[in-house]
Amino acid sequence: MSLEVKNLSKKYGEKTVVDNLSFEMKEPGVYALLGTNGAGKTTSIRMMLGMLAHDSGEVLWKGKPLDAVSCNVGYLAEERGLYPKYSLMDQLVYFAELRNVKKSEAQKRIKYWAERFEVEEYIYPGKSSKGKTLPPKKPEQLSKGNQQKIQLISALISDPELLILDEPLSGLDPVNTDLFKSVIHEQIDKNKFLIMSSHQMPTIEEFCTDITILSKSKTVLQGNLNDIKKSYGRVNLFIKCEGDILPLVEECGIQLLNHKETEYQLKVTGDDQANILLTKMIEKKILIVRFELREPSLHEIFVEKVGGDNEEK
């Protein structure tokens, strides 16, 4: 067992912001920490990293209390931050040295990641068409996406064993999203432990094996993603056909979730109910383009689990 979070709690005055959070990562992989805005994800991460004092509980890394100062941890914070005036090279070397990476090694790694993320022109001096040396751009001149790349470089520069990514893909264009995803896959392949927090559910589904969903500081769902999905059963029915099937849906007592021209989203009680509908459609000689019975998506599970809480607000 490598990462163990036990009964982590935090209160600000009378308000509980994290209530008894517990989870564990036995194997390398990606663990998702999900929740609505203000559910306590960032506070939990800060407490795990020792950046914020916790009221109770403990965080163990390889059986010992996790201390981000002595353990090799990389962290991409939700709020990206760079010094606006200092050169990027100086900043990256500074962040690396703070993580106990030697300057020469840091410079090598910066070169590798700069090429990988195609941000050399912002880190190293360039040359003008007339051959003049141009200073690298300052962070304040960088686009949001490029700032995010630099931020990820600073998280990866110590080659961390444990990497925590808070909203890693927000605000990125599709090309850069793929670039970030490839880097994350690379880290997974290197048997790293990753904790990811994101509101982009397809991304979580793509990377994560285990999840915890927080709502109003409490854990509302936790476990292996596949097991959770299986526990819900295949109740989502998606149909695309030529012809009106609404009378048949009503006849079978199936719940209609959404209907758009020839596409129908339905919720069934089980395989039998779906089979009855399929039989009736064939009998009526309705041309079926697509008939898919599937488990609920993470998005649907998330909305189901925390939607009610948000409505109460």
């Binding site: 800060r46 004092a53 914070a77 931050g81 760079l82 010094y83 005036k85 200092y86 703070l98």
Partner: protein, 462 residues
Amino acid sequence: MKKSELQGWQKVFSFTFIQNYKSKSAVIGLVLMCALVIFSGPLMSLTAGSAAADKLAELGECKIEDMYIKNDTEYDFDTSAFKEEYPSYNKINYIETDESTEELRKNLGEEGLRNIVFHISFDGEKYIMSFVKAKDSEISTMNVGNFSDSAREFFFDSRMAQCGVSEEAVNYINSEKEASVVDISEISDDDEKDELNPVVMMSVTIYAFIIMMIVLVSSQQIAVSLVTEKSSKVMETLLLSVRPLAIIVGKITGTMAVLVCNFVLFIISGCISGIITSVMFSKKFDEVLSVTLEKMAAEDFSTQADPTALAGFSISPGRIIFGIFAVVFTTILAYLFYAVISGITGASCSSMEDLQSGSAFISLSTVLGIYMVMGAAMANSPVFDKVTYFFPFSGIYVVPIHYIFGKAGLSDLFIIWAEIIILTVLLFRFTANIYQALVYHKGERLKLRDIIRLSKARKGQG
């Protein structure tokens, strides 16, 4: 406070130090200041040199050729004795005459541009000495004025001598009379009421100004740096590797190292300036400084500069050496005290706009200290002096300088040091307690009561 909370402060220190010298504006400012220090010596020397030349002109280069003396009094004006007493005027051709002043004035035509008519008379109440020069005379009014001072003094002395009054008797008659009413409670063995000495006051003013600049500039630097890290969200990246206390300690020491380096550079610049001055003007730098200080004291405080003002103090070398240490040590303590305050100020603000109002305490306390020091100097009251010594915001500006000049004792120094050290330690402990919560604070600026409440809540958590 655990030792691990300070881990990594050296890296913050070196980054703060190096980035300061990578800032173009800071380097340009430093170069300009060094240039100012380097050129100030030669410039002061030039000014002092011109003052000396003026004096020489006053004394030696007198342009008067003929002086017609018409003496209508019963006392003799012995020109031979005058020449002996004032050798700078011995080239003048003194012509004693009985002609009427109107006639004499006619002689000051085109050919008498370097002549003066000197008329001594008595109107029944006072002796009058009048000097008349031609309309387009080559003799300056200042030249005549200087001569008149000498003539007046000589005439007074000769008159006394002719009346049989000795110089001692004159001094006795002219001695100052003073009456004062003193409350017995104010009298003690060692508290003598000192006269307002312009040199002490000038030294206190210069020292206070330097400390104020150090305190304001460095405090602003630390607070701005913290607010920048908070507003640019760098803080979160930093806190992964170092604890908040290590950040503030690294910043405070880094900024102090910058100040020390700048100070060393100024000293080196001062030495270069001294060398240039000695080479260019063959004049020792301390002489130039003395003349300039005297001039400044005379101009700024409207008091007559005493040429022996600097030499008048009998300060032992030991006192000077310990005094210099006291000045440096007090400056460091003052810096640390305000640096910790600026750390709290910076951490309690989330934006530069907040910082403007947040820095008010630092500005007000420095200004209050300076006003108290100036007020005490003007009041010239031992009681007020003691109040400024023991009030930490004013004591830092005045005690070390007064110690060097013998106005303050060793006990005064130790008391102000103890006060500042205790206050700094208490503030630092307070900061250590709340800093972590403060650096995560976003939104409106936290006021003092919010910070105290936060501290109490943290203590409550154990």
